[in-house]
Amino acid sequence: MRILVVGGGCGGTILANNLARRLANEIRSRKVRITMLSASDKHMYQPGLLYVAFGQMMPDELYRDQLSLLEPTIEFHVDPVEQFHLDQNRVTTKSGRTHEYDVMVIATGSRIVPEEVPGLVEGSETFYSEAAAVKMFKRLREFEGGRVAIVVGVPHKCPIAPVEVTFSLHDYFKTRGIRDKVHIKYHYPIGRIHTIENVAKWAKPEFDRIGIEYETLFNVKEVDVENQVVKSEEGTETEYDLLISIPPHRGMPVIERDQMGDGGWIPTDRYKLTMEGHDNVYVLGDTTNLPVSKTGSAAHFEAEVVAENISSIIKIGTPVRDYDGKVYCFIEAGHDRATYAMFNYENPPDLKAPNKSMHWFKMSYNKMYWTSVRGLL
């Protein structure tokens, strides 16, 4: 049985390690082989980028060697897939090699596409890549006051990021003693200030209390860089001195190129996590078209289900459980306090009052992540 894992991010790594643990005997007796193909030999802890943008983490803290995170029985190649041949159960890679599989898991993730909004690349700061986060921090340090606007592209990774970055901006300018010289305005694509109703209910009075203006139903259409104005699809506009953006995202180009899903998102069964029309292909994390948050935690819980099912299919010939839509999100609420939202297909998120202990749990998780991707926590 040849298991091919395409993508070495959070979901792919947890899945491969979890499988290697479950199938240790089968791998040793050479009945099963796990191969991982990734675009990089490094693994990045992406939630750390927000801390880099505020000078609270250094970029080198975000990386580990991918090989050091994998079970030694997993065959790892830095050789991304260039073409999927789903009808022939094989892929071809950048180096020209062919990998055949019996079961494949696609976990190629998503990428930012700020270029799809005219002016967004030149006109805004963001924290969705290492270089951008460092640049954003330098810009924040130089900022002495004025109008800060936060705009949000759709779809985007980490749905809580717009609220978190807004609280962090408030804290940052307050600590520097220039909060009274900064006017912060938050813009959100739908009719309330966050898509999770309970988060919106909690954040709105918080925004009012700390003096953050907000505009809803604002989908960023273009940025007039010269005149420093950001315009919405809905016909409104906001002037700014510093524009912070959560850029829109897409799936990987290879998915669109091979016509496996519009926007690079693969149509996926919401319970079985198999690719529509292909029972031996599973899809994880950001890569799916599921109406589930694009976060590491969704990828994590999905990876556990897929690993358990692939393993049980090998051992007893049938999958054992469904994905219930579980997502767990930390929410940094500013002022060294945090809370969390947990939900699934059945149960809406309930929100507890933010506190310091949850903030420390998040701080701890920033380090525990490496234990988590190894398939331990």
Partner: protein
């Protein structure tokens, strides 16, 4: 109502002094927790979490390493512990002897001279026996795939 249940009328009244003492102890405990909370920083929490997290990873590796577990079993016997002690003592003595003896001149005569010594002969015999048993174990490893 069972015999063990006390009615409110017969319940022992709480001594105010005792209550005050208990409250004081509770407040002491709360102060301790709060002071620990205030003393901690993001950095400390991160470092402790990292140490614990890496510790768990290490523990996981150690406990799942069958070779190491078997080695620990072998090392549990007094004989193995004695041998290990003997080996480390021998290594320490050897390194000291090498440090104080003049550099070897080389050549067949030197080898012949060394070979005449009973210690060398004993050593060679031990090494050849070690080689014999080790190669048996290696053959076994490749025959069974380590199972």
């Amino acid at each position: 109502m069972t015999a063990q249940t006390e009615s409110p009328q017969t319940a022992k009244t709480v001594d105010p002094g005792e209550l005050a003492h208990e409250l004081e102890q509770l407040s002491e405990l709360a102060t301790l927790v709060l002071s620990a909370r205030d003393a901690l920083s993001d950095d400390i929490v991160s470092r402790v979490a990292q140490a614990l997290s890496e510790g768990i990873t290490l523990l996981d590796r150690l406990t799942r390493n069958e070779g190491l577990m078997r080695l620990l079993q072998v090392l549990d016997t007094p004989e193995s512990q004695h041998l290990l002690h003997g080996l480390s003592t021998a290594l320490a003595k050897m390194s000291r002897d090498i440090a104080i003896s003049p550099p070897a001149k080389g050549g067949l005569v030197g080898v012949a001279k060394l070979a005449m010594e009973p210690g060398t002969q004993e050593g060679l015999r031990s090494l050849s026996l070690l080689g014999k048993y080790w190669s048996d174990s290696m053959r076994e490893l490749h025959r069974t795939g380590g199972n």
